[in-house]
Symmetry: C2
């Protein structure tokens, strides 16, 4: 039985789950100069949202987040980070959830645990979107990648959550770069610059970028990339373990 059915339809008291606290995951997908975000669409509602989930009574919150993200992407060992807890009272919008549950064939009583106020722990990750297998759950229509520049409106404060996750990703890219594991074992400075330019959504000056990257002390320079004409061949780099 799916977690969503277990959490919603036949469990109005939320037995077995922490109450009032959920997880929302902003999974960014990168590949070939494209930056996307994983979104779900709830069946027969036209409502879009971030993939999320609940925390089991005996579960660590970080483990619950890994479980949720693994269920939606088919990826294990994702480098997933908490970035903020969204706890404003104004995010309490029970009518949206009533609509979602009704469209899913549930008729939740007023005291249903999912219709109470929730705070949400935000997590973010950056993965290669060609490696993920987006997987909807029973109550979703779809789970798909959307271009960041072309997202549909999202329920609650989910658009703000994406925005804040993006700010965090941009601010911490230097520190998280190795963990994200987005480049091949050996790569050129141009590959790295393309990743930065895509995430930051701006062009960077090559000499300054290269200087900054080398100053981080995380890159090891290897031989030149073979390309027939050796003169212009770029150096290959790898991350220092």
């Amino acid at each position: 039985m799916s977690e969503q059915r277990e959490a919603g339809e036949i469990n109005p008291g939320g037995l077995g789950y922490l109450k009032g606290i959920a997880i929302d995951a902003v999974i960014f997908g990168f590949h070939d100069s494209q930056l996307k975000v994983l979104l779900i669409e709830y069946k027969r509602t036209g409502l879009f949202a971030l993939p999320g989930g609940f925390i089991r009574e005996l579960e660590n919150i970080n483990d619950a987040a890994l479980r949720v993200v693994s269920e939606r992407t088919g990826l294990d060992n994702i480098f997933l980070d908490q970035f903020y807890i969204f706890g404003d009272y104004s995010r309490y919008q029970p009518d949206e959830f009533k609509k979602i549950m009704s469209a899913g064939g549930m008729a939740p009583p007023d005291g249903h645990w999912l219709l109470q106020r929730f705070v949400s722990v935000g997590y973010y990750a950056l993965v290669d979107f060609t490696r993920a297998k987006p997987t909807p759950a029973i109550i979703f229509d779809s789970c798909e990648w959307y271009d960041l520049t072309n997202m549909p409106p999202l329920i609650q404060d989910h658009t703000q959550i994406v925005r804040k996750a993006l700010d965090t990703l941009r601010a911490h890219l230097d520190d998280k770069l190795i963990g994200f594991n987005l480049l091949p074992e050996e790569f050129t400075m141009g590959d790295l610059q393309q990743l930065y330019e895509t995430v930051l959504d701006k062009k960077l000056l090559r000499p300054a970028f290269q200087r900054k990257m080398l100053s981080l002390g995380i890159l090891e320079r290897l031989s030149k990339k073979f390309s027939g004409g050796a003169h212009k061949a770029p150096y290959l780099y790898r991350f220092i373990k």
Copy 2:
């Protein structure tokens, strides 16, 4: 009536509060090369902890944190930041809370809301400890500044929470510097370096420190500080608004 009495003794169901979620605040205090942290001691238990509190049903979590910190320090307008949510199952230690409540003259029934699993939203701030007025609540013996290098053992995972807050403070000092408001309107590079050396707990090389600070683009250089012998007088700086 104090919040603690209201939350504990006469309210075993936690009416009016969010369940299972609390706030812990790591308030660092700086002054004259000293770095301290604000801790409470629970009456007749010898148990030390971070100051913390609960969230009212209609309250934003960030507002609850400001309220709690203001109650403990007498300071308003503190520059307070979330830094992590502590959600491991292993932090659930109901026996410690039974001891604290019993020592406070309460005899909590087993189902008491404060004896359930809680997750905690961690906040941190850095204030001038000479400006704060540490204020205990009814169930605490004391609320006092402790040298960071000489903290007593803390309940639950509170020592880890302090450690993680300190890592965050150190990593983000450049960005938060102006907000913390720890220096006089006009200050010398030496004053600034003393602040950094105290927070980072290490000596810094003056030329490299000055170069880095000037490169942040947040300092405006003023006239030299008057000191009789003009030759060696240091420049004064202020933050660019």
